[in-house]
């Protein structure tokens, strides 16, 4: 009889493990959780954008029956949060943007809390505001934070080579200014937290939507003046992350203050309007980019000057210049590069971390300018890109080492499948400013794909155990935020241990149980947590096969784990059931359980003070081609089709990775075409889905997705990260397609009908 063949799980279409519960409405998000005795927390936000707080009168609110606590800055320790430590959770001296928290209430019901908030009287004295980041760095500008009298929250300078020399060698030099707008995550589940403080033990349990539970725990301890070991963070399933949950926000410590003041659990959940006003945005940016090339199409230099609107406070997102500079310095081979970025304070809503982390902005600038420069050189833009594209084995000026690099394959695949060169030529020949025109555009991107060593460690821990019946529990530090990490981790472990997906449970939501992980960001979870889980599984396998060698006549290395059995490696013949071996180990005189631990730290390095160093263990690449239709009478741009070719290292779960790419493309479509947060004198004009337009089902384009499998040597089963990549190219590709259709290049986003129409009529907005 032939031994059964056991197909590999790698590359299969494996449904998400949490999907059956989700389709049944059984998944309990933060909004669905309630603790006995819980109170309802609510925040009073200022309506001023820059003002001194003269007085706050809470007496009427405190007197309202059912109100258990009313807090202002005077009642709590002053420990500002954020990467610059510039954001006190409750504002005492002044307010700096419209989302500022001036008081908070805990009450028996939400209705009572709402009534109490209305009874709080705040007296302000307005201060001169700044709304345009260009005004913020002018001489004599009002100062927003006394600690930063120049209004510069952060500044970054980077250089390699000698740009003056590069410019002298150039035959063509192109200079442009690009302006990028403000958008937000729009997670379908609004923000919220439940704080449960036990005064006798001093234990704090936080039910939190964070993407970074371990960094959160550390920062909470600092902000609250608590011993970190007394803080436990439990993450209920998260209704969307996309980077929005990388920071601590004021509402979280406020919920803890309220819980401490009342000695009751406090639940604080945003409304959608509050979510729009008080959650982070993508950085609005003004990018001045100057690049040169020789006649033969070789790039010679780039200089970049970026001004970012930081808003009133500084989130982790203010560090996006790290990522932007990678694209400017290293997407293409550029021998000379100089880069300067300032993130400056204004009285606008403050920006944060958002999928792509600065790369949408950088790519919008660079990939439009690549088309412009190709035109100036008289070279086909696809050929121009191909000529300057990075190859495997190269080390860039910034010190990034591309051990695998599918960039040229991505270019060739996306161009080939879309017929880009011929189509662009034909449509370009027919371009015009009347009627309905079609165009194609291309853009490419580079992003970290093997973590990013920003924090002292970029690692992830795994604890793995097998029970007497062969059931595997994976305890991982890596959070599931909808992206499917728990399913991929289970797949990787199943592949090592030869057990079916049904034999695995993943525990990933409790800092008292799971080992440390730096957090869900930088497209790192499959790569870092995946390698960590594989390492733990291999240790378990070694232990099981060593035990099997003592009870069979084979050596450990002659055996394998397949189909729930210990088998002979050479032909798959069953030796004994895995569960039987586990029980023998457990109930023998030696009495052992199979439990292993593993901590994976990627072989990347910290950048030096000049931002040089191989910061990621692998790099992801992509090229996207789009085809659009431009109605020149209305300015309406319709996205018809997207061809996306992504270097993903290796496909682990085909359905999961398609889901990431499709979702990212549509998020990028929204960024390009319709999402916008107009802020007028510091106030958001459209805090509602009625006026903040997300892409809906009828508007999605046809999507043709190709995977370039470069089999990265360090990646789990060869894979690289992909989470952020798919949204990065879209706006640049659409801009290039509009130019191909109409001959008009638009350097600012979003491409709403109004903006496109005005640009086509020669009156750019």
């Amino acid at each position: 009889m032939n031994a059964p063949q056991h197909a590999s799980l790698i590359g299969q279409r494996i449904p998400k493990m949490d999907a059956p519960e989700k389709v049944a409405g059984k998944t309990r998000y933060i909004q669905d959780l309630n603790l006995p005795g819980q109170l309802y927390g609510l925040i009073l936000r200022t309506e001023r954008v820059h003002a001194r707080i003269v007085s706050i009168d809470t007496s009427a609110a405190k007197a309202l029956p059912g109100v258990r606590a009313v807090l202002t800055a005077a009642d709590v320790p002053i420990h500002p949060i954020g990467v610059n430590k510039d954001n006190p959770p409750l504002k005492g001296d002044k307010v700096r943007c419209e989302r500022d928290e001036v008081a908070a209430v805990a009450a028996d019901s939400l209705e009572i809390a709402q009534a109490a908030i209305k009874l709080i009287k705040v007296e302000y004295e307005d201060l001169p505001p700044i709304f345009d980041p260009r005004d913020s760095i002018k001489d004599g500008a009002p100062v927003i934070h006394a600690a930063k009298p120049d209004n510069v929250a952060m500044a970054f300078d980077y250089a390699h080579g000698d740009v003056e020399r590069g410019e002298a060698e150039s035959d063509v030099v192109v200079e442009d200014e690009f302006t990028l707008h403000r958008v937000t995550h729009c997670c379908m589940g609004v923000s919220g937290v439940i704080a449960d403080f036990e005064p006798v033990s001093g234990n704090l349990t936080l039910y939190s939507n964070t993407q970074v539970p371990f960094l959160h725990k550390r920062e909470f301890a600092e902000v609250l003046g608590m011993d970190p070991s007394r803080i436990r963070i439990i993450q209920p399933p998260i209704g969307g992350g996309f980077g929005s949950k990388l920071d601590i926000y004021p509402f979280e410590p406020i919920a803890v203050y309220l819980a401490k003041a009342t000695r009751r659990p406090v639940k604080l959940i945003f409304t959608r309007e509050e979510e729009f006003i008080a959650s982070p945005t993508r950085q609005p940016a003004i990018i001045r980019l100057r690049s040169g090339a020789k006649k033969d199409g070789t790039l010679t230099f780039r200089t970049v000057d970026v001004l970012l609107d930081n808003g009133g406070y500084t989130s982790w997102g203010a560090t996006i210049p790290f990522v932007m500079m990678q694209t400017f310095s290293s997407l293409y081979r550029v021998p000379h590069c100089r880069y300067h970025t300032k993130a400056v304070y204004t009285n606008n809503p403050f920006a944060g971390s958002f999928r792509g982390y600065g790369n949408l902005q950088a790519t919008f600038a660079i990939e439009q300018q690549m088309d412009k420069m190709a035109d100036a050189l008289g070279i086909e833009p696809y050929e121009f890109r191909l000529k300057n594209a990075q190859n495997a084995g190269e080390v860039t000026g910034q010190g990034m080492h591309f051990k695998t690099c599918g960039f040229q394959d991505c270019l060739e695949t996306a161009a080939g499948r879309s017929g880009f060169v011929e189509k662009r030529k034909a449509l370009g020949a027919a371009k015009g400013l009347s009627g309905v025109r079609r165009g194609v555009g291309m853009a490419s991107m580079l992003h970290v794909g093997g973590g990013a060593k920003i924090y002292p460690s970029d690692g992830c821990g795994t604890i793995l155990k097998l029970d007497d019946f062969g059931h595997v529990t994976i305890m991982t530090g890596a959070s599931e935020i909808g992206q499917g990490s728990e399913t991929v981790l289970a797949q990787l472990v199943c592949e090592e241990l030869g057990v079916p997906m049904s034999a695995v449970t993943v525990v990933n939501n409790d800092t008292d149980i799971t080992p440390w992980d730096v957090g869900v960001h930088a497209s790192r979870t499959t790569f870092i947590a995946g390698n960590s889980a594989i390492g733990a599984a291999r240790k378990a396998k070694d232990k099981i096969l060593a035990a099997a060698a003592t009870v069979s006549n084979m050596k450990a290395e002659e055996m394998d784990l397949k189909g729930g059995n210990i088998v002979r490696a050479s032909d798959g013949e069953k030796v004994m059931p895995l569960a039987k071996m586990l029980r023998q180990l457990h109930f023998s005189d030696k009495a052992e359980l199979v439990m292993t631990t593993n901590y994976y730290e990627p072989p990347s390095v910290h950048q030096d003070k000049g931002f040089k160093g191989d910061v990621s263990a692998a790099y992801a690449w992509a090229t996207q081609v789009v085809e659009v239709e431009v109605d020149t009478d209305t300015g309406i741009v319709k996205l018809l089709k997207v061809w996306a070719a992504h270097d993903v290292g290796r496909v682990l779960n085909e359905m999961g990775i398609e889901g990431q790419i499709e979702g990212g493309i549509i998020m990028g479509q929204g960024y390009a075409l319709c999402e916008d947060m107009p802020v007028v004198e510091g106030h958001l004009v459209n805090p509602a889905f009625r006026d903040y337009k997300l892409i809906t089902a009828p508007e999605i384009p046809e999507m043709d997705i190709s995977f370039i499998e470069t089999m990265d040597g360090e990646g789990p089963q060869g894979a690289k990260g992909v989470g952020e990549a798919p949204s990065i190219c879209m706006a640049a590709a659409v801009a290039n397609a509009i130019e191909n259709a109409t001959g008009v290049r638009i350097a600012s986003l979003p491409f709403t009908p109004e903006r496109v129409y005005s640009a086509l009529k020669g009156r750019p907005l």
Partner: protein, 160 residues
């Protein structure tokens, strides 16, 4: 406090008598009083579809409906569809076609898809996309949700 209004309705197949404040929304009644937390609050103004339920078989944004208007009606939420054998292929298709990521929009999507399939048993891509226009999803890009509903339509007509 306001006076309560007595209503009777059928919720997920169970005849139910309730006394509700006149200002309470259907969404709040389901979530806060009946423990049916599968119906989600996404925006509170009928723009996102996360709170979609069926009232007398027709899809409704429960955040825009008053609870008192349940009187005399038959109400189905995601919890009702979760035990409805006729909806097994629909839920199954969402799982197997990858129509779920964070899952927050999913209950509303499934309920709205039930409504679309009831109206158009042989729905094609355009009918499904139009039918789901009022339901926002930030994760999936909709493609796999549309595929799931079309798959369910095919499974449904094969079963008939």
């Amino acid at each position: 406090m306001s006076s309560l209004v007595e209503i009777s309705c059928v919720v997920n197949g169970t005849p139910t008598r309730l006394a509700v404040p006149p200002e309470t929304s259907a969404l709040a009644l389901l979530r806060d009083h009946l423990g049916l937390s599968g119906t989600k609050y996404g925006c509170g103004e009928g723009e996102c579809g996360a709170c979609t339920i069926l009232v007398d078989g027709v899809s409704v944004n429960s955040c825009l409906m008053f609870a008192v208007d349940f009187d005399g009606r038959t109400v189905t939420t995601i919890e009702g569809l979760a035990v409805d054998r006729a909806s097994d292929p629909l839920r199954q298709a969402f799982v197997e076609k990858g129509g779920v990521q964070c899952g927050f929009c999913t209950p509303g999507m499934v309920v709205q898809s039930r409504h679309v399939l009831d109206k158009h048993p042989n729905a094609g891509p355009d009918e499904v996309k139009r039918g789901l226009e009022g339901n926002l999803c930030r994760c999936t890009g909709y493609k796999k949700i549309v595929e799931a509903v079309i798959t369910a339509a095919a499974a449904q007509s094969a079963a008939e």
